[in-house]
């Protein structure tokens, strides 16, 4: 408890400022490389699609973000289950990182999907199964973040979030099924968010570099977000040590035997 006094040990290498490390730098550089490839091929080099025309370039962004979002949510689900089993801070921090990153990517996915719809259908929103599912799931995980934001002691907050993480993830396939059937009654499946087989070589290259870039960015964000959450916990523990000191000091000025402030309502026992 009291071992958290700041003591700069000059012998060891200085600890990094912020949440970066050699590993994240390598990861970030690789992600950047694929991002450049994705921009070059996705926006400039690859031709327009035979079916989708230039809107395929939106798909190059849409697919990686939706994949990253699902990966993030699956990590949240796994971490939630692991937290309820192991009860360690690691799984809690990993789960909350996943929810936040997943919400980010899902929101982007939905905006991209709406822009694709504007070009393809002339309207931003049609009740396309994938977009609809995404919208429902997005709000579900916004609820997770809302609960996360409520101040509570770390264990309570972690349990609440783990429960929501589990309850939410089992809903994903059910929402998928329900929405697919529902829309299946009215229209055929659209190609939004799919890699269809007659994509050409440079198109596939653009798609895969965007996909790899998206997943690498997701991983890079995970590491940084996790470490930021870890630092936030340590910072609040420092506050706890101080609060404990203050709490103990409350008792010292008053003499223990002082009984001036008693408030006995009844008379003395006879």
């Amino acid at each position: 408890m009291t071992s958290t006094k700041i003591e700069s040990s000059s012998a060891a290498a200085p600890a990094p400022i912020g949440t970066g490390s050699r590993g994240t730098k390598v990861l970030g550089a690789t992600a950047l490389f694929f991002l450049v490839l994705a921009v070059a091929y996705g926006l400039f080099i690859s031709p327009a699609d035979s079916q989708l025309g230039n809107t395929v370039r939106i798909i190059y962004m849409h697919v990686p973000t939706v994949m990253a979002a699902y990966v993030a949510f699956l990590i949240t689900a796994l971490s939630s289950a692991m937290y309820l089993w192991k009860r360690t801070e690691f799984w809690d921090l990993l789960g909350s990182s996943g929810a936040e990153i997943g919400v980010l990517f899902f929101a982007v996915t939905i905006v991209d999907g709406a822009l694709w719809g504007k070009v393809t259908w002339g309207v931003f929103w049609r009740w396309e199964p994938r977009l609809t599912t995404s919208a429902v799931l997005l709000i579900m995980y916004i609820g997770y973040l809302a609960v996360r934001a409520i101040p509570a002691d770390p264990k309570t907050r972690a349990t609440r979030c783990a429960i929501i993480g589990l309850v939410a993830v089992v809903n994903i396939p059910i929402v998928h099924k329900a929405v697919d059937w529902w829309r299946g009654l009215h229209q055929g499946k659209t190609v939004l968010g799919t890699i269809h087989p007659d994509m050409g070589g440079t198109q596939l290259f653009a798609m895969y570099s965007a996909l790899i870039a998206g997943l690498l960015v997701c991983a890079w964000l995970f590491v940084h977000r996790f470490r930021a959450g870890f630092l936030a916990e340590r910072a609040s523990e420092l506050g706890l040590d101080q609060a404990l000191e203050e709490r103990r000091l409350e008792s010292s000025p008053a003499a223990p035997s002082s009984r001036g402030a008693r408030d006995d309502l009844g008379g003395p026992q006879t």
């Binding site: 609820g143 409520i150 609440r160 429960i163 939410a168 929402v175 059937w181």
Partner: protein, 228 residues
């Protein structure tokens, strides 16, 4: 002194107590039910009743009304468990958390089914609905209600102890219940012969939803009562 008690004894005890509370305080009957009927009236004001929109949308409006009423019922049901230190007292009894959960779900399901029965009479009178395909309708109503209660009890208990529970519960619960709304609405449409597809797959989906959340809830109620 401690004779062994099973999960189902606990569930029965909890459910009986909840129905007793409803009989005494009549919040469901006196407040939630009138609210639900009011919503039916509001829909009629919002959607022109003369152009057939109302009639076409009846199943959807019915289930939306049920969802809103369910949120209110859940607020009440778990609000009274979090007052007066009741949650602490329940933890001190050593009752099985799964039993408490199943008891709450049972009482909620019964209350909501009763509400749906009255609402069904309401749409029959106000929206001129003719009920056909009764067996499917009954199965859909039962499975959907079980799903709403099963998922709702988990989030109801979770939100009950938070100061912002009134706003948080709908935000958490309604997206979760989106598939229930879709499946129950479509299922009822089919049953009322509005669509030419068989409605049983929808009933099956509702059944799966209910089963999944009842199982999950039975396991999650322990950490929920202990640490959340």
């Amino acid at each position: 002194m401690t004779k062994p008690r099973g999960m189902f004894d606990d569930a029965l005890l909890m459910a009986r107590k909840d129905l007793q509370l409803e009989r005494r305080a009549k919040i469901g009957l006196g407040q939630v039910l009138p609210f639900a009927i009011l919503v039916l009236l509001l829909f009629a004001f919002a959607l022109d009743p003369d152009r057939g929109v109302l009639k076409q949308a009846t199943p959807g409006l019915f289930w939306v009304t049920v969802l809103f009423s369910a949120v209110l019922t859940l607020q009440r049901s778990f609000g009274l468990e979090s007052e007066d230190g009741i949650l602490e007292a329940l933890r001190l009894t050593g009752m099985s958390p799964a039993g408490i959960y199943l008891g709450k779900v049972t009482a909620l399901t019964l209350e909501l089914l009763l509400l749906e029965a009255v609402l069904a009479v309401g749409v029959a009178v106000l929206y001129d609905t003719h009920f056909i395909g009764i067996p499917l309708l009954l199965v859909i109503a039962f499975t959907a209600t079980l799903g709403i209660a099963g998922a709702g009890a988990v989030y109801g208990a979770l939100a009950a102890r938070l100061r912002s529970r009134e706003t948080l519960l709908p935000l958490l619960l309604l997206p979760l219940l989106a598939p229930v709304l879709i499946a129950a609405t479509r299922g009822c449409e089919v049953s009322l012969q509005r669509e030419a597809m068989s409605g049983w797959p929808w009933a099956a989906l509702l059944g799966i939803f209910a089963l999944v959340y009842l199982t999950l809830g039975s396991f999650l109620f322990r950490p929920l009562l202990e640490d959340a």
